[in-house]
């Protein structure tokens, strides 16, 4: 994955999004002791970043133990708060590693509607192409209008072949055929796009399970990675999403998209605490190059607006 400009670009995305939080923080701590009232305001700033009430309270409680009562500068507060959060995030910051022994390493990409699955596949395809690998894409969203064509355009953009079926093909059957082909061609990665589905629709979740079942007829370990794509604007419902997807399709890692917007993706902190699932990467734009590794420190600093 191209690291060039990672920090600057992530910061750009995150800092734009944290302008408000930053000015809020400055107002809280400039020329002021970190007293109860100030801590409460900090807690509210975290809630405003989607950490959720429980996690925000815990973070502040821990923060209070180390900082309370001392004279601190604005910068110090931000750094310390970011550190507190980075401790929670560090264990889940793990890149997506492909197993070179697999030909192909099968990656199933799932998530609720509109989170950025297809776009993320395009981004991953580009990153792997740049590493000299051969990814093959599967247009497994056979439901949504023009979903196949959308993925085909990503294939053209990234130079990755796209396997698609006629409209309303059975996604599991398509995935099976694609795996056969990818094995024959010894592709490095098979990236399977799926239709967006809400986690509370059991029939749709079973469809996803079926894809996995069918893949396993050829390769008992497939899929080797199951990625859940999460939209950073999502609030507390993300917890339920992850819980159900994890249970039903054994998600192996997360990718958080749309972090270039004003949403800060604070729910990730709660997710890290609750599930400990790897967070592989973040999406910071609509272009193929807009994918970055997930870095706990950067993310935490972005969250609280520490530069």
């Amino acid at each position: 994955m191209a690291l060039g400009g990672f920090f600057s670009r992530l910061k750009e995305g995150l800092s734009r999004s944290t302008e408000k939080l930053t000015s809020g923080l400055a107002a809280v701590v400039t020329r002021r002791k970190l007293d109860d009232a100030a801590l409460e305001e900090l807690e509210e700033l975290l809630i405003g970043a989607d950490l959720g009430t429980a996690v925000a309270a815990r973070v502040i409680a821990a923060f209070r133990r180390t900082r309370f009562g001392r004279d601190v500068s604005d910068q110090e507060v931000k750094e310390a708060l970011a550190e507190e959060i980075a401790v929670i995030l560090a264990p889940v910051a793990r890149p997506l590693v492909l197993d070179p022994a697999r030909r192909p390493h099968v990656v199933l990409v799932a998530g609720v509607n509109g989170t950025g699955k297809t776009t993320t596949i395009g981004k991953l395809a580009l990153a792997w192409r740049e590493q000299g690998l051969r990814p093959v894409l599967v247009a497994g969203d056979t439901f949504r209008a023009a979903a196949v064509e959308q993925l085909q355009i990503w294939g053209e953009r990234t130079g990755a072949p796209v396997i698609a079926g006629p409209p309303n093909t059975d996604a599991a059957g398509l995935a099976f055929d694609a795996l056969t082909r990818a094995r024959a061609e010894a592709a490095d990665v098979l990236l399977i796009d799926t239709a967006g589905r809400l986690h509370n629709k059991s029939a749709l979740m079973q469809e996803l399970q079926k894809i996995i079942r069918v893949l396993r007829k050829q390769d008992g370990d497939a899929p080797h990675s199951v990625l859940l794509v999460l939209d950073a604007t999502t609030g507390q419902n993300a917890i339920e999403q992850v819980r159900v997807f994890k249970e039903m399709v054994d998600v192996s890692g997360l990718i958080v998209t749309k972090l270039d917007g004003s949403a800060r993706g604070g729910i990730v902190v709660a997710l890290a605490e609750t599930f400990g699932l790897s967070i592989h990467a973040v999406g910071v734009g609509e272009r193929a190059t807009d994918l970055r590794p997930f870095d706990a420190g950067d993310f935490a600093r972005g969250l609280v607006g520490a530069s």
Partner: protein, 456 residues
């Protein structure tokens, strides 16, 4: 989380209800829980604060404090205030008071559901309101976005503006209105690319589209799962293009939908429509009284009843209900219920809409309740004798063994079914006590704690 919150509120309210008189501290405690419930339902913090302040004022009146049932009063005030802030009773229709072709502009973040909603709107306006609708995609950003809308137009049976490569969104918008005028369309729905509220260039672009088209409605399409960022989005879009209505999509999910309140509070624009599925038929009017209960974690009971009413064979349901009333609900009837429930789709999703049965839902989820399970249960009942079905009490160990063998299941499965049957019968009886008509008329109020002792 859904259930613990609803439970927590219930606990506080129960405690309040148990007391004779309330003091300011009691009210503060209840409101603290309400605040938490709202935040966990993703209502944005500043909006929650304003809301709680308004409710506190109303709750602190002597009339409330001295009443015989102060707890109920507080709950009622919270619920009423929520309904009011969500727009009051009833749905607000689209404003189509403009000379044809009437432009409707769809705006919002990436992936919020603009294109799908455009298709849904077209279908509704064409089929239900008999209007001539033209769909036009101004999305030159997302790959195959224009094709997506064209395909949805075909599904909806309405025309879409021919795609011309290389045009800017403003050019497409102008061409759409020209076509609308020339070809005698009543309404032109303009779908736009998703954009971030902080993307100045794209926000300027949509502003230009608005200026070029003067839409009768500018609909902000928002995902019901949206978190605290709802305020930023609402503010930015409202400032740039003047939002006239909000569409809340993915209400078929289990998000509590607090964004509805945030959006409404920031823009002042009513939520006009909700999306409840991926199909083009899944567009509904927004009912504040239902979403209020959902935000408070008390469950969207009216929607449940409506959904049930839609799918259930009414005669059979009435017959079953009558039996339940008389306490004569048998396993045979349960088998019929299973068939109906099967028709209703995701059972656990539906149960999630019900207040007070969180535990049952967990049990069912734990049992991984799905169609296979329902079918297995039907098989178990099928292996019972008539006598066993009408008087399940006689089913002891040896009968259980026989039934399990006959249905290709285990004794545990049989036990599980019998337990579930008990739960189900109890739940149905309660549901029934209230009556479908009662639910429709009184809405959530009828189920609010205090008036629903029987639910505990």
């Amino acid at each position: 989380m859904f259930d613990t919150l609803s439970g927590k509120l219930t606990t506080v309210f129960d405690r309040l209800r148990g007391r004779g008189a309330l003091d300011a501290a009691d009210v503060a405690e209840a409101l603290r829980e309400v605040r938490l419930a709202m935040l966990d339902a993703d209502v944005a913090l500043p909006v929650v604060k304003d809301f709680i302040a308004a409710v506190r004022e109303r709750a602190a009146t002597a009339e409330v404090m001295d009443s015989v049932t102060p707890g109920q009063q507080v709950i009622k005030i919270v619920n009423d205030a929520l309904v009011e802030q969500l727009g009051g009773a009833g749905a607000v229709p689209l404003n189509l008071n403009a000379p044809a072709p009437i432009p409707i502009l769809m705006v919002g973040l990436q992936g919020s559901g603009k294109t799908t909603t455009s298709g849904k709107l077209a279908l509704r306006l064409a089929r239900r309101d008999r209007r001539r609708v033209l769909l036009a995609s101004l999305d030159t950003q997302r790959p195959a976005a224009q094709l997506q809308l064209a395909q949805l137009a075909t599904q909806a049976g309405v025309p879409s503006l021919p795609i011309v490569a290389g045009e800017t969104p403003v050019q497409i918008a102008r061409r759409a209105l020209d076509a609308g005028r020339r070809e005698g369309f009543d309404i032109v729905v303009l779908d736009t690319a998703g954009r971030l509220s902080i993307d100045q260039t794209l926000m300027d672009e949509v502003r230009q589209v608005r200026e070029a088209t003067s839409p009768a409605e500018t609909l902000l399409v928002v995902d019901a799962m949206t978190g605290q960022d709802a305020v930023n989005t609402a503010r930015a879009f409202n400032e740039a293009v003047g939002v006239t209505g909000i569409v809340l999509t993915r209400m078929d999910g289990d998000a509590r939908g607090g964004a509805a309140l945030s959006m409404r509070a920031i823009t002042g624009a009513p939520v006009k429509l909700t999306g409840s599925g991926e199909k083009l038929e899944a567009l509904e009017d927004f009912h504040p009284e239902r979403v209020a209960g959902r935000i408070l974690g008390l469950g969207d009971v009216v929607s449940l009843v409506e959904k049930a009413a839609e799918t259930i064979d009414e005669e059979e349901a009435e017959e079953l209900a009558a039996k339940m009333m008389k306490g004569r609900f048998t396993l045979e009837d349960y088998a019929k219920q299973l068939k109906q429930i099967n028709k209703m789709g995701s059972l656990s999703g539906i149960l999630g809409m019900l207040p007070g049965i969180g535990k049952l839902k967990d049990q069912l989820d734990g049992a991984n309740l799905d169609k296979t399970l329902l079918n297995r249960q039907a098989a178990i009942i099928g292996s019972m004798t008539r006598k066993e079905r009408t008087a399940p009490d006689i089913i002891k160990a040896s009968r259980k063994k026989r039934i399990a063998a006959g249905s290709g299941t285990s004794v545990q499965d049989v036990n599980k079914l019998l337990r579930q049957f008990d739960d189900m019968a109890v739940m149905m009886k309660r549901m029934n006590k209230l009556g479908q008509k009662g639910l429709m008329r009184h809405g959530l109020g009828a189920l609010m704690p205090g008036r629903r002792q029987s639910w505990h």
